[in-house]
Amino acid sequence: MSTTERAPLLTVNNLVVEYPSKKFRAKPFRALTDINISIGQGETLGLVGESGSGKTTLGRAVLGLAPVTGGKITFEGKDISHATRKQRRTLSRDLQVVFQDPYTSLNPALEIGDILAEPLGVQGMEQNAAKKRVKELLDQVGLPADAIHRLPREFSGGQRQRVAIARALALSPKLIVCDEPVSALDLSTQARVLDLFLQIQRDTGVSYLFVSHDLDVVRHISHRVAVMYHGEIVEQGPAEIVTRDPEHPYTQRLLLASPVPDPDRQEQRRADRHRLLESQRHQIEQAGALA
């Protein structure tokens, strides 16, 4: 975790993302407020939060898929907050994505080989070299070589997610934004895909911005964790601390809300949670009384 010595790979400073409102002259909807994060080389930053907390938007802003209203996103020292499509094309060598839903993130009409060759073709790699690289990639994510000529629908969810990971790896990027990549998968498949993410990081030294709603997943895969709530980061720090002994009341609630697979320990956790909710309610009331 001594990655902070070198200059970070990605820094996000005071990022604000606003979506224009559909209604005439209405105030725009503010999805992200004053976000500050950084990711070092070979490091995983876990981003945890509930639906609507803005965690996905942050990932999309880094990828250039969400409008940056204010603040700055720096990747390898370059400001990419408002990168043009051409700059993005260069950037895509180093910055890639794995989406949540393995069913809609692959074009159902294209063969796996074509899907994987797409990013290679954009970078101008010639066909034979691309073909060779596609074979390597399939091998790397543990898919059979004959997958090249098959369509996405012939694969299970876990296998499709492997294809999506292979596509992200195609150009040997430095950072992969993973937007809930295991949320749609079965438990045992999720475990295998997480193993794959860890293995790839060990082998290639890639960094991850790992977005998930599941604190257990984030704890398992991240070096550092940032907790998002209502479009803001409420807590950020080493994974071990944030996910075991959090400071912010929201993170505390989040931690105690996820059930553990043992009846007696879960009963304990349930009691802890009720106690926590009680004390937090108490604090709020006191604060209210003071004000």
């Binding site: 509930e50 639906s51 250039g64 898929l65 499509r85 993005r88 094309r89 895509s92 994505v97 989406f99 949540q100 993130s105 692959l106 074009n107 063969e111 797409e118 990013p119 954009v122 091998d139 790397q140 543990g142 898919l143 059979p144 004959d146 000529h149 098959r150 012939e154 299970s156 296998q159 596509r167 079965d186 438990l187 045992s188 498949t189 999720q190 295998r192 997480l194 193993d195 794959l196 860890l198 293995q199 082998d203 709603h213 599941d214 257990d216 398992h220 991240s222 994974a239 071990e240 989040l254 105690l256 996820s258 059930p259 553990v260 697979p261 043992d262 007696d264 879960q266 349930r270 949670r273």
Partner: protein
Amino acid sequence: MSDSVETAAVTAVPAPVPPGPSGTVVRSTVMRRLLRNPMGIASLVILGSIALLAVFAPVLAPFEENFANITKTLAPADSVNILGTDSAGRDTWSRLLFGAQLTLLSALLCAGVAIAIGLPAGLIAGYYAGKFEAVSNWVVSILMSLPGLIVLLTIRAAFGPSVWISMIAFGVLISPSYFRLTRTAVQSVRNELYVDAARVSGLSDWSIIARHIFSVVRAPIIIQTAAIAGVAIAIQSGLEFLGLGDPTKATWGVMLSEGFKNVYLTPVLLLWPALAMALTIGGLVLLGNAIRDALEDGEKIKHRKKRGTTSAMGAGPTAAPATARPSRKSVAAVDAGTEHHLVKVTNLGVGYPQADGSIKKVVDDVSFHVDRGEILGIVGESGSGKSQTAFSILGLLPDNARIVGGAIQFDGNYTVAPGDERVNQARLSKLRGKRISYIPQEPMSNLDPAFTIGYQLVTPMVRVLGISKEEARRRALKLLTDVGIASPERTFSAYPHEVSGGMAQRVLIAGAISCEPDLVIADEPTTALDVTVQADVLDLLRELQQRLNIGIILVTHNFGVVADLCDRVAVMQNGRLVEEGSVRDILRNPKERYTRTLLASMLEGKTPMSMLVSSQKEPVA
């Protein structure tokens, strides 16, 4: 015994290659299906031969289209003029052939113009939206509000009787249909994740449209073109029939007009062009339908075909205990000594008939029971048959599902008696909603957006409990308070979209307990909810279960939820019951390998950044 087959299917090990076709063959299935469809073949043969006749018209036609033999007008068919001649002594057969050429070409021109305008405009408007879309929508609305025939008449008056000009004009007039079709198709995929992925890869917009978006509109465009070409032929012929065509050119419309003028002298002149038009237009319509059928899943046809064979199968190898049969009196009495169970499922098998006449079992030989005041968790991964089991207790299986074995009894009576092929809906409909209720996975899609929450709570109570509306309203408000909703009055009069997901799930739970059921079946009741909301809903379920002493079957994939609520657990895999026991036994000392694999996949208590399942194997890379 349950070697984790599913495990193999998702790992690095190449899954048993689906017997289905490989990639290249897949694409040609549309063509193959088209050719297997009699309608498709017939239309292709008709259109093909008409097109061939048109192409080889100069060779096949014995005369020039306007060659007139004035000595032989309105002649009947003979060896020289095989279809006879018209009032100017022109050969009908030759004119029919040249007419096919001109008619088909002009129809193609019309469709071509319409596509050339509508398709790109639709692609751009659908993909970029914004101002271009707004403007083109205006233009389209104007075009569509123009009375087509009058515009065509005006154009004819201004530019003379050219087939080509009128067809170009008609192409422009009809282009909105392509525009709308394309725009809608594009809008539906514009925000798909694979388009986002392509953007991240740095693909230019044009490449994205060409590679990822155009493929979506291709099929509808082909179907639409078949229809439009038919319309174009009809419109063009209609104009010419009115005498507004180019008299120097032979087209079917001109011939029709000619035939009509001589309808008393030689009515057969009317027949040939009419027949040609009918065949062509009919062929185009049939072709469009056949392509649509080929693109749609062939499942329905299979299903219809299968009906007969199924009934023979279902009665077959019923694993139902032979003891049940002798004791069957009028309806069927359950086995002695099992009446006290609230629900008892015995050797249940559920299957779906397949195209080849076999039955695919999704639930196989599953037995368990639930008593009053007890929570049974059914755990498994997708495809394990856990939801199918729950639905067969509720009697909510899809129409084509068959009970292929076993029995289900509720409170001492069979709802599925041994040997039954379907759930007994007569008996279940009396229980469902009243004594057995259901909490679904997706709270939002299980509330009707058109009615207030209050209405959706009150109606079932009035119907099932036979109480007055006033009384039901009072009970609904009490229920909403019971499920922990702070302002029941406001929620009562709210519409589903006005409440959050967690709130909607509370409403559904209130609905589930509103008629004081004995058994609640909850299918992944917290999966769609945030973790903190999930914890609240679990608390609520526990509290209600204890207070009302109901039995709950909780279908879930989450062992944490199981640990939180359940007394007993049944683990399912590939339609079979792998293991059943008390929650502590299963979670702490699982006997079956599959259960152990599942529990090992839990992240809780694992060393962060350690391999979860692949450590024992060599690294994947």
